[in-house]
Amino acid sequence: MRDATSRVVVDVTVNGLSYQREIEPRLLLVEFLREELGLTGTHIGCDTSYCGACTVLLNGKVVKSCTVLAVQADGNRVETVEGLESDGKLHPLQSTFSELHGLQCGYCTPGMLMAAKSLLDGNPSPSEDQIRKGIAGNTCRCTGYVNIVKAIDAAAQQMREE
């Protein structure tokens, strides 16, 4: 029997801040971020688990937030593109994407940045092949990827030097 009124309370830490909300269990994490918390940096592209525009980190692991229920994040830690900069200073990835034209329309960019962040968290010196595989779950319809790969490589270098 369907019971549309069934609701659950979730407690999710997003970019270091804790949020408690009562939601329907069918709410997707991406909708939770955008609609409930107003964090619209995370984009919905395909909404069918393919394009990666909705990529965020869940407990440090890279996921597609259109394919995760908000209840799966209950009690857990989420990082979104809004959490990349700190004290008004851009993350190296944000700077190199901007400087090296790692974006055109920018629709894929939040997901690209989060996929790239998780890649560099696990491997500070990826080869070009590893970078390309690392963003294989993210589609960009504008750039042809060349400048995205360059930007990730440059950010990795900067972060190693810091």
Binding site: A4, P25, R26, L27, D47, V62, K64, T67, Q72
Partner: protein
């Protein structure tokens, strides 16, 4: 896109999960990583009214060697298996886990889910069928062990009884001079294989003493062919003998023509994959380090 409304349950123990499955019967849907269930619910396929989230059940996420076997907890993610040193003991297993979809899906998706969905193009059903895998399940009547050949009964159909859950996958460690590989052809990362091939070869010097070859996405279920395996056993593994084995098993396959390709294209690609899996398996049986990875369009 929203799934239709459902009630959400997060049992704290395996016993509680089995109890909920019994209570809700046909209305229950199991959710492990959600990477097959959520896309289906969003498309309003199936009828998930009572979703039972087993994703946080304790003690079901491990990859370890125990009693001469590689033992993998049902909730182990594809990513954790690909990164595991224990799983590296059987290259085919690591190759299967590391080649599923993309990093995002691999972070969440589990081996228990991938096997239980029993998609004929799924990587776990094909790769694990190549080995002497057994599937441990728990249900209201207790625990039982099912040989992989009996576990999957048809496309998307397993022998799991109502209330039963997969808890662990066990694979005997390979004998010396054994090599294995799993190779798929994929249109892109975030897509199921167009076709795939798993292989395991046991060698004695130049002579092959045992061969297992399985094709995936080449029919409603995994395709095996005794004649193809016999084409290798007792012989040297060369391009010629591998080619003969490939001809035989591909003749026994029945790949569907669909958006991923025509039947003729898939047959041609399957032959290529058998050769590739054979070369990698042979090299690994000699202790050579061979890079894994799929072929992409």
């Amino acid at each position: 896109m929203y799934p239709a409304p459902f009630r959400y349950h997060r049992p704290a123990s395996l016993e509680a999960a089995i109890g909920l499955l019994g209570k809700f019967g046909d209305e229950a849907s199991i959710m492990a990583g959600g990477q097959s269930l959520i896309p289906m619910m969003k498309l309003r396929m199936g009828d998930a009214c009572e979703v039972i989230d087993i994703g946080r059940l304790p003690d079901l996420s491990f990859v370890e060697i125990r009693d001469g076997m590689l033992c993998i907890g049902a909730l182990s993610t594809h990513a954790s298996i690909a990164a595991s040193e224990a799983a590296a003991r059987i290259p085919l297993v690591q190759e299967a886990g590391g080649g599923i979809a993309d990093r995002q899906i691999r972070s969440m998706g589990t081996i228990g889910g991938g096997l239980s969905v029993a998609d004929p193009s799924g990587c776990w059903p094909t790769s694990l069928r190549t080995l002497k895998t057994s599937v441990q399940v728990r249900g209201p009547a207790g625990a039982r062990s099912i040989a992989i050949a009996d576990f999957i009964q048809d496309s998307y159909v397993t022998t799991l009884q109502p209330g039963e859950l997969v808890t662990e996958i066990r694979i005997p460690l390979p004998a010396a001079n054994t090599g294995s590989a799993y190779v798929a052809f994929k249109r892109t990362a975030a897509a199921y294989p167009t076709v795939s091939c798993g292989m395991e070869l046991v060698m004695d010097g130049q002579t092959c003493t045992s061969a297992s070859i399985v094709l995936g996405a080449a029919g409603p279920m995994a395709v095996l062919c005794a004649a193809a395996e016999q084409a290798l056993v007792g012989r040297e593994v060369t391009e010629t003998s591998l080619g003969e084995a490939a001809e035989l098993i591909v003749a026994a396959s029945d790949p569907p023509a669909d958006a991923r390709g025509s039947a003729a294209f898939k047959r041609a690609m399957l032959k290529t994959l058998v050769l590739e899996a054979g070369r990698r398996s042979l090299a690994r049986s000699r202790g050579e380090q061979v890079k894994g990875g799929h072929r992409y369009a």
